[in-house]
């Protein structure tokens, strides 16, 4: 299952599996962002190109306002996906 919610410090928490059948809900949340966010990946097990597409669209939109998403607690499998796709160059991963 996939879940997206706001944490106690206004960060976005992603949990579960961010796959092609789950992107619509996530897209709504990311497109409504008006400022940069910390996105906590600690509980995220899986992401595919569908999820990356949502993050990319959000990052592009925010960057036009000089804002960005910052990713934290990214597990090493997902970190590999970011690296293979070059997304490690367009997201700050802490």
């Amino acid at each position: 299952m996939f879940d997206i919610r706001e944490g106690t410090n206004k960060e976005l928490i992603l949990a579960g599996r961010f796959d092609a059948s789950q992107v619509e809900r996530a897209r709504g949340v990311f497109l409504s962002l008006s400022e940069g966010k910390i996105v906590d990946f600690a509980q995220l097990d899986y992401i595919s190109s569908a999820g990356l597409g949502v993050l990319l669209a959000a990052q592009k939109r925010l960057s036009q306002r000089g804002q960005s998403l910052k990713l934290i607690n990214v597990n090493h499998h997902i970190r590999d996906v970011f690296r293979f796709s070059g997304f490690d160059q367009i997201f700050e991963i802490a």
């Binding site: 599996r17 796959d19 092609a20 059948s21 899986y46 595919s48 190109s49 569908a50 990356l52 597409g53 990319l56 669209a57 990052q59 592009k60 960057s63 499998h77 590999d80 996906v81 293979f84 796709s85 070059g86 160059q89 367009i90």
Partner: protein, 521 residues
Amino acid sequence: MSSPAVQRDTSARSDVALYALLELSKALSSEFDLDKLLAVIVEKASAVVEAESTRIVLYDEVPSDADVKLSNTGTVLRAPVIDSHGKILGIIESVNKTTQSSFDAHDESLMHALATHVAVAIERARMTEVHLDNQRYEQSLRLASEIQMRMLPSGTVSLPVNAPFAIHAFIRPAKQVGGDLYDFSWNDERLFFCVGDVTGKGIGAALVMAMTKTLLRAHAAFQDDPAQVLSAVNTRLYEETDPAMFVTAFCGFLDLRDGRLRYSNAGHEPPLLRSGRAVDRLQSKAGLPLGVLRSFVYVVEEKVLQPGDSLLLYTDGVTDASNRAEELFTSTRLREVVEHCANAEPSSIVSDVAASVDRFADGTAQADDIAMLCVKYYGAERPVEMAETFRRDIAELEDVFDLVGRFFAATDVDDATRYAVELAAEEIFTNLLRHNPSGGDQIEIRLRLEDDDLALSVTDFNAPPFDVQADAPEVDVDRPLEERTPGGLGLFLVKSMMDRVAYQHENGNSTVTLYKKVPSA
């Protein structure tokens, strides 16, 4: 007494008689216990004919001077009880009229009716008893059949997907209980299996079958020499069963580490060995059946099974199954079925043979017990393979992941590979949904691990050629953010994370296969 008084008396009397007869009829329809019923008849009969006493005598053997007709001495009124076949069952006899000096013609006709009631009651009670006996017999046979079947391990065996062998067995007695048997047991190193056939059918054979099965299992647990197992069982059977009883049996120990099969045969049909597409009898020297001589030396023979080889053990109920024209199924037909079985899995071979025998018999009653046991040896390094078909719907994605999850649960492959395979399965599946609108209704995903080679195949059935990679846009991962697009990203990731991609279009089906070497355990 005046005549009108007599008139009234007579009419009152027939009321009592009719009432008693009615009571009798009720008892006849509600009472099935013969002794109780006869007691009721005796009691009511005295009321009906107004007698001091009545008795019923039933003959075990009909005396030569038995009454065949009703007799009336005035004080003794006696009628024979004759059943529907005209057989004399006994007599019913009332003595001493209580209301007048002698029994009259009216009493005679009442007595005749009573005798008929008695005959009907006895006949019905006897039929009920026979019926109940039959029912009890049927029930004990059913119970015996259940007990017998429960002695055998279930013919359908679920093993881990990477177990070095598969096994499937089938048994169908001709009667409720039978003399065929199979058994198997295994540990990490070896598999023991056997099939046997006791002479004769029915309960006697079933008891010897139970004994043989127990002996084989017990001896196989303590040693792994098939000839010694047979020799030991032979002596016990010789000592403890009827001299006319004997058992043919075949047993073997398969070394699960290297495929070495050691087997021994006591007068049984040699098994069929299917290796590739070739089917042959497993060569064996048939020793004497078990239980013929007190001591007999059986020989051990050996054959190394190749990974993929299947062995089918069977009893002659298979080859001797006959059809209406009284032709036999024969070992030739059996061999053909085994040859043509599509995938040589034990469950398929056994069900194919059973179905083929039934088609051949075409409703002809099964004359002999049928038993089969099929073992397939995969080799110590059994490829793990799983496949499932999915609807062309994004909602199926959860089930796609479930399949991948089960596949990895059955293997020791590392998590990084699992992630790559999950991602590849999703990306190819969703790509087909989005970009191959002319694809078929069903998409199959197949996973296979052989040695250290993992293959993921995604097949679009009844689809025109469509290579997911062909039109994928190039991805330059070094472009700055504003120039990045999500197009082609999925396939790009798949190619980065898997080692190799192959595409083929065959028989109208379009298949993409992705390979990855996995670190060997």
